[in-house]
């Protein structure tokens, strides 16, 4: 493995293989000897990932030292699959996009690892937890560093595996086990489409290497590009929990909270966005595919936001919020504003990880209570958590000048300036909803009266958990410096990969946009304050009054139920029919039927053998006459 790496120039690029390798080593160690390490398992895992982060930083600095055009490096590790003309190697790719991603993954990941040291304290499978987390980091890094789609797919499925393991970490609970399975299978639906997409690429281009497929000489037709793009996007839909494959993500909250933060907020779910951005050449060639991305993203953004409004489980609110926010990223990507999408990805990684970890802290303090109806007034009991969560919430809601504002505002601005008025309007509506649900979360959790024993007995989390919160909060707050509008630092950095966004001119003036955004955010927050924070409204009573609507939203438009009815039940019935009727009766029945037939024949034949010697003679004579008849015919 290292041989190829060492042959490369002696700079930090050569160490890129260590970025995934370190967490892999951690995973291996923790898997096999994690039990012996005790609490050190967590530290080891965090340290190794931190090591990756450091290397990533080194790579970044090295990369920044190069001219924009030469910011690309491919490290060949070994030949993986070589069959006929088809080749896929284990190659790692360094370019601004992948470096952005590994920084997020290792950076935010490390923080979450550290947080988990405290959060998972005392769990009987402590070591294994970190093994899984490290393994996840490994696969995620492979995903973003891969130089071809096949290797990307390895990471893609690998993170799915880890997601499965981590959601089902507390597998004694049936709900956790179910959720894990659901997550894996639902995403696999998309993955399969993606696999077909890869096959299609090979058929058309002959290789899966990014440099060939995404290059200008790939020679794809528009139709082929559309098909490939849509199939790839199907994978993204699954992994990034977009409509209609979003159903797994809310259930995935069964996993330990650090998992939700790392996998289901900051990194894995954003892989879809990464995929679209990475493959933007294909999507652009198609055009149609981009529109699909845009529509799906938009629908998801609004749909999930409405569902988030009605959840009582603090993590489920955040889950739907994540779905919605991912929708925004796809909206951006769909408008070719890849840099904006990426910026939102980064920003979201910070504030959503922060919110999740904060929620985890709350849950921790509430002795594993997640229902917001049981909370209230927690700002007094856990001030630090409350503070950082409010920062995160405001960032998400898009309050100037927090990172979230820049992220969302850029997207809406692009929608407006590029003349996509409908997108802008709906996006803005979504922003309103976002502000509302996050406001509701904050007010229900931290404000008002304590509504339960647990709430009254809640306590602040240990420093090992709060420290990462603070770091993340800082990021969520000041992350905006990376990108202010289309010409920010991040867009510039990404330019060699994704190009420059060059549409616009139309639409509302900058000032108007800012104003509208502020009004919308403020409205959302104020309304929820009035409803949940002011104490003047008996929100539980209101809920009863609008029960059907509430139910509709809480059950997320009954999509799960519809799936169960339309897909689940008939599929089960079909399987049962195939197994018990077709297989057992028809196919096997034919087989056994032959057996029975022969047996019947045998019994019938037995009856001919009567024991009467004269019958035997009759048969004899019959044969004799027949033979003589035959020879008679012959002469």
């Amino acid at each position: 493995m290292s041989a190829a790496g060492l042959s490369a120039p002696p700079d930090s690029f050569a160490l890129v293989w260590l970025v995934p390798a370190l967490p892999l080593a951690g995973a291996a160690i923790n898997l096999f000897v994690g039990k012996r390490l005790g609490r050190w398992a967590g530290w080891l895992a965090s340290a190794l990932l931190a090591g990756s982060f450091v290397i990533s930083l080194a790579i970044l600095s090295h990369l920044l030292g190069l001219t924009a055009d030469s910011r690309l490096f491919v490290q060949h590790l070994f030949d993986w699959v070589t069959v006929g003309s088809f080749r896929a190697a284990a190659d790692l790719r360094i370019d601004p996009l992948s470096v952005t991603m590994i920084l997020v993954v290792t950076g935010v990941g490390t923080l979450i690892h550290v947080y988990a040291i405290g959060y998972m304290d005392g769990d009987p499978r402590y070591g294994r937890f970190f093994a899984y987390l490290n393994l996840f980091a490994f696969f995620m890094l492979v995903l973003v560093l891969a130089e071809n789609y096949l290797l990307l797919y390895v990471g893609w499925e690998g993170v799915g595996l880890c997601s499965y393991l981590l959601i089902g970490f507390w597998f004694e609970r049936k709900s956790a086990a179910d959720a894990a399975k659901k997550a894996f299978i639902t995403t696999r639906v998309g993955d399969t489409a993606m696999m077909v997409g890869l096959a299609l690429i090979v058929v058309h281009v002959g290789t899966l290497d990014f440099s060939s497929v995404l290059g200008s000489d790939a020679g794809l037709t528009k139709g082929a590009a559309t098909a490939i793009s849509l199939l790839l996007f199907a994978g993204a839909i699954g992994k990034s929990a977009q409509v209609p494959l979003h159903v797994w993500l809310p259930d995935a909250m069964e996993g330990p909270t650090p998992v939700s933060a790392l996998i289901h907020a900051a990194t894995m779910v954003t892989a879809g966005v990464y995929l679209v951005v990475r493959s933007h050449a294909l999507f652009e060639l198609s055009g149609t595919a981009l529109t699909v991305v845009l529509v799906i993203g938009l629908v998801t953004a609004i749909y999930a936001a409405t569902a988030a409004l009605a959840q009582d489980d603090i993590k489920r609110v955040l889950a739907y919020s994540t779905v919605s926010q991912l929708g925004y990223m796809f909206v951006a990507a769909g408008m070719r504003a890849y840099a904006a999408a990426m910026f939102m990805l980064v920003a979201h990684a910070f504030y959503k990880a922060l919110l999740f970890l904060g929620a985890g802290s709350v849950i921790h303090g509430m002795h594993d209570e997640q229902d917001m109806k049981e909370m209230g007034g927690l700002r007094r009991r856990m001030p630090l958590t409350a503070t950082v969560m409010i920062v995160g919430a405001l960032s998400l809601a898009g309050v100037i000048p927090l990172a979230g504002y820049f992220a969302k505002d850029t997207i809406l601005e692009i929608a407006s300036t590029s003349g996509r008025t409908l997108v802008y309007v709906l996006g803005t509506a979504g922003a309103l909803l976002s502000a509302a649900y996050i406001g509701r979360l904050i007010f229900l959790t931290f404000f008002g009266e304590e509504r339960s024993e647990h709430a009254r007995a809640a306590h602040e989390s240990p420093a090992i958990m709060t420290t990462p919160l603070l770091v993340l909060a800082a990021g969520a707050a000041v992350g905006g410096v990376l990108a202010t509008g289309v010409e920010g630092k991040l867009p510039t950095f990404l330019e060699p990969v994704v190009g420059v966004f060059a549409e616009g001119g139309a639409g509302l003036a900058k000032g108007a946009l800012v104003a509208i955004a502020l009004v919308v955010t403020a409205t959302g927050l104020l309304v929820t304050w009035f409803l949940y924070g002011s104490g003047r409204v008996d929100w539980l009573a209101v809920r009863v009054r609008v029960a059907p609507l509430h139910r509709f939203l809480q059950r997320a438009w009954y999509v799960d139920d519809a799936y169960a009815a339309v897909v689940g039940t008939p599929a089960k019935a079909a399987a049962a029919f195939t197994a018990y009727v077709v297989d057992a009766r028809v196919v096997d029945g034919a087989v056994n039927g032959v057996g029975i037939l022969v047996r019947r024949l045998a019994n019938a034949g037995r009856r001919v053998q009567t024991g009467f010697v004269r019958n035997y003679a009759l048969a004899f004579l019959l044969g004799a006459v027949a033979i003589l008849l035959y020879v008679g015919v012959r002469f």
Binding site: T610, F612, R614, N615, L618, L621, L622, A624, V625, L628, L629, G632, F635
Partner: protein, 192 residues
């Protein structure tokens, strides 16, 4: 109509009729007697066909010894009361008769195709029988067929053993049947 034709047309119907009569005869003794009649007719044919020696053997051995042995056994076992001719096996009788007729026809056609009804016996058989049928026969028998002839002795030994083994009683007293069977065995050897 030459004599041989007359003889043929007299004895052929008798032969057939006695054969059929044997089939429908309830009493075993009567059936045996009918068979003797039949054998006699056949013996007459032998004479017609230029086999006087076999004519004699047929009457002495077959009609005489063998059928007497049959009669003896019938009486010994006391099965001469006559048995019911009612058929219990479904379809056995019609099938048997149908197949029997079919069989006869097959032979008929084989003969018609293979020999033809116009073909008369070739002349010159007297030359073959020169020196008397018995002598001529002996020549053939002991020159061309001496080995098969010797082989028949084994057959007769086996017959003797069979009689001893199967008909013996536990006490190994020689029964009449056994004695008779043994006698028949030696008689069968006699003509040789």
């Amino acid at each position: 109509m030459p004599l041989d034709n007359v003889v043929f047309w007299v004895f052929a119907p008798i032969a057939i009729a006695s054969g059929i009569a044997m089939l429908v005869q309830r009493n075993a003794v009567h059936a045996a007697l009918l068979l003797i009649v039949n054998f006699f007719c056949i013996a007459v044919f032998y004479l017609l066909l230029g086999a006087p020696f076999l004519f004699a053997v047929q009457i002495i051995v077959y009609a005489g010894a063998i059928m007497v042995l049959f009669l003896f056994v019938i009486m010994l076992l006391g099965v001469d009361r006559g048995d019911s001719l009612k058929e219990r096996l479904v379809g056995q009788r019609p099938a048997a008769i149908a197949l029997g007729i079919a069989f006869a026809f097959e032979v008929f056609f084989a003969v018609r195709a293979g020999v033809g009804f116009a073909a008369k016996a070739p002349a010159g058989f007297d030359a073959v029988n020169a020196g008397g049928n018995t002598r001529a026969l002996a020549k053939v028998l002991f020159r061309d067929y001496f080995f098969p002839f010797e082989v028949t002795s084994v057959l007769l030994i086996i017959a003797a053993i069979a009689a001893m083994v199967l008909a013996q009683r536990k006490a190994r007293a020689i029964t009449q049947a056994e004695a008779l069977a043994a006698a028949a065995a030696s008689e069968g050897a006699d003509p040789a």
